[in-house]
């Protein structure tokens, strides 16, 4: 996963980065171009001075050197012209200064002269400082203005997008509310809205259909199962079957029972999804657990120890409370690996149920998924904990699993 940046931040960042690069580039170009222009100008000037000196020599005027500005010598032979920079001490400023120097050799009246003219050069750092200072001032002020202006504009421009994003985050398949999107005069946003509406409607219809289908299937299975069941009940009352056949036939009953329970659980899940449990009242969970333990005692050899000090009353549907507690205790009974005591500890805001286990679950995060099971325990359908989770989600209870000291723990916390 790459790091996620906010759209506005990202566009601003790009804008600023581009600005920075542009500023640096333009400063460099400006610097070299200015330097080039200045040099051109100086060289032109040096040429012009040199030309005047030549003219003066031709006119046989009295000439004198004025170092370092002009130096004229008579020499023996001609040499090529040179342009160069040179450092010369300036007594006025008491420092070394850069001079542009132009040396040329001219034959005037059969005499070869070496003429050197120099001019003070504007120093590089000075040009640079001037240019950088001015460009930075211009660019920074322009960019600051543009940056705030653009950000404000972007926020306004993208506002339908951000608002709709929030709407989409709040979208829930299970609620019946259709998604409300803000219209925008931006064509793409408007198109996006339409696509989202189509998509969510499709998803919702598919979800409803699937739910309806699941309900129908589990409903339609009941009658054939009832017929199989009834026929078996009659067969075992016919005198013509053997002990072996009786065994086989009655074992079919176990499978019918499994299918029956599977159906019930699927129907239950759908009903919790549909929020069809609305008998919300104050349920005393301590009483409920105590009652449940009575009936489990007649059903399982597992010893269940129940410790509580305070009352625990929660507001929820009575039937769902029953199912919640029932599923958690039966889960502990089913997976109690070493017939040790099952422990239930309750206080005024949580219930912790633990049972002996051999090892931590391989995929504890999948524990609450439909039909997920890590054993090939035939008793397990893999919906009990899914139902527990659904009920917890419905009432914002928190259910967590952990493994400690060779025990599986389920902790149910109420807000």
């Amino acid at each position: 996963m790459t790091k996620k940046t906010k759209l506005i931040k990202k566009t601003s960042k790009t804008f600023l980065l581009t600005g920075l690069v542009l500023t640096i580039l333009s400063t460099a170009v400006l610097y070299f171009y200015t330097k080039y222009l200045l040099q051109q100008e100086i060289e032109e000037e040096l040429y012009s001075i040199e030309a005047r000196i030549v003219d003066a020599i031709k006119d046989k005027k009295e000439l004198f050197s004025l170092p370092p500005i002009t130096e004229i010598y008579k020499v023996e032979k001609l040499k090529p012209q040179i342009f160069k920079d040179t450092l010369i001490y300036d007594p006025a400023q008491k420092e070394m200064e850069v001079f542009r120097e132009f040396t040329t050799y001219e034959t005037i009246n059969n005499q070869i002269y070496q003429i050197t003219v120099r001019d003070l050069v504007v120093e590089n750092d000075q040009i640079l400082i001037a240019i950088v200072a001015s460009t930075i001032t211009i660019f920074v002020s322009a960019f600051l203005f543009l940056f705030y202006f653009n950000t404000a504009r972007n926020i306004k421009l993208w506002s339908p997008f951000f608002k709709n994003l929030e709407h989409m985050k709040r979208f829930s398949l299970t609620s019946n509310q259709t998604i409300e999107l803000e219209d925008s005069d931006v064509l793409e946003f408007s198109e996006l809205n339409n696509e989202i509406k189509t998509l969510t409607n499709k998803v919702r219809t598919d979800y409803e259909n699937l739910k309806q289908f699941t309900e129908n299937v589990s409903h339609e299975m009941q009658t054939p199962l009832a017929i199989i069941q009834a026929k078996i009940d009659n067969i075992i009352n016919d005198n013509s079957i053997s002990d072996k056949q009786f065994e086989e036939i009655t074992s079919i009953q176990k499978d019918i029972q499994r299918l029956k329970i599977l159906n019930q659980k699927i129907t239950l899940l759908t009903k919790v999804d549909n929020n069809q449990f609305d008998k919300v009242e104050s349920v005393n969970l301590i009483n409920l657990i105590s009652m449940k333990l009575q009936s489990f005692k007649e059903l399982s050899a597992n010893n269940i120890v129940f410790n509580y000090k305070e009352e625990l009353v929660v507001s929820m549907d009575v039937d769902l409370a029953d199912i919640l507690i029932n599923n958690l205790i039966s889960n502990a009974i089913k997976y109690n690996s070493r017939k040790e005591d099952i422990l239930i500890v309750a206080n005024n805001k949580s219930i912790i149920i633990s049972n002996a286990g051999n090892a931590e679950l391989l995929n504890p995060e999948k524990l609450f998924l439909r039909f997920y099971t890590e054993t090939n325990n035939k008793q397990s359908i893999g919906l009990g904990l899914t139902i527990v989770k659904k009920i917890c989600d419905l009432y914002n209870f928190n259910i967590t699993y952990y493994f400690k000291e060779q025990k599986h723990f389920f902790e149910l916390t109420f807000k």
Partner: protein, 224 residues
Amino acid sequence: MKYLIAEDEIDLQQSIVKYLNRDGNVCEVASNFEEASEKVALYDYDVIILDINLITGSGLDILKFIKKEKKSLGVIIISANNSLTDKLEGLDLGADDYITKPFHLAELNARITAVLRRGKFGGNDILEFNEISIDTKSRSVFINGKDIALTRKEYDLLVFFISNKGRVLSKEIIAEHLWGDNSDLLDNFDFIYVHINNLRKKLTVEGSKYIKTAYGSGYKFMED
């Protein structure tokens, strides 16, 4: 006893008839809403077994008719829908019991006999089998007039056995009757053996040896 079985699934209807006929009951059938309405209106029955989802109408409408006409017959609703609202609606309308598909015929039979025992159909809350007499109102059991102390499960078992006397009951049927949907939690049937053996001992001491083993692993409550 005279029963009307209003069920549009013929296979299920016939199975119920076959099971109930064993006690020498008279079973009439109705395979759709019109037939059921007509028979209820014309004839008298002790109990009607009424499917809510009849192919051409709702069993609940027949129930409403029965209650409006103040007919004296027990009503047991069968539904494929394990929904509480259906159940409550049925019971609110005056049904005597409610059973969800799939069910064991032994369970249905136990429900029918329970309905019949209730006072309003001329029953007297007493269930009898030879020297055994059970007062289902006070949940007390007498053998030759002597009060026998039974646990809750033993009592439920005995009533279930007597209601289905002469019929084979598998461990699965018994487990489902005693523990309902939680019966899948039984890792084995030791618990049933314990309850049945205890009951058997308590009855045998009084000379009532009616709990027989059938097919090695099933049970049958009957005279020798």
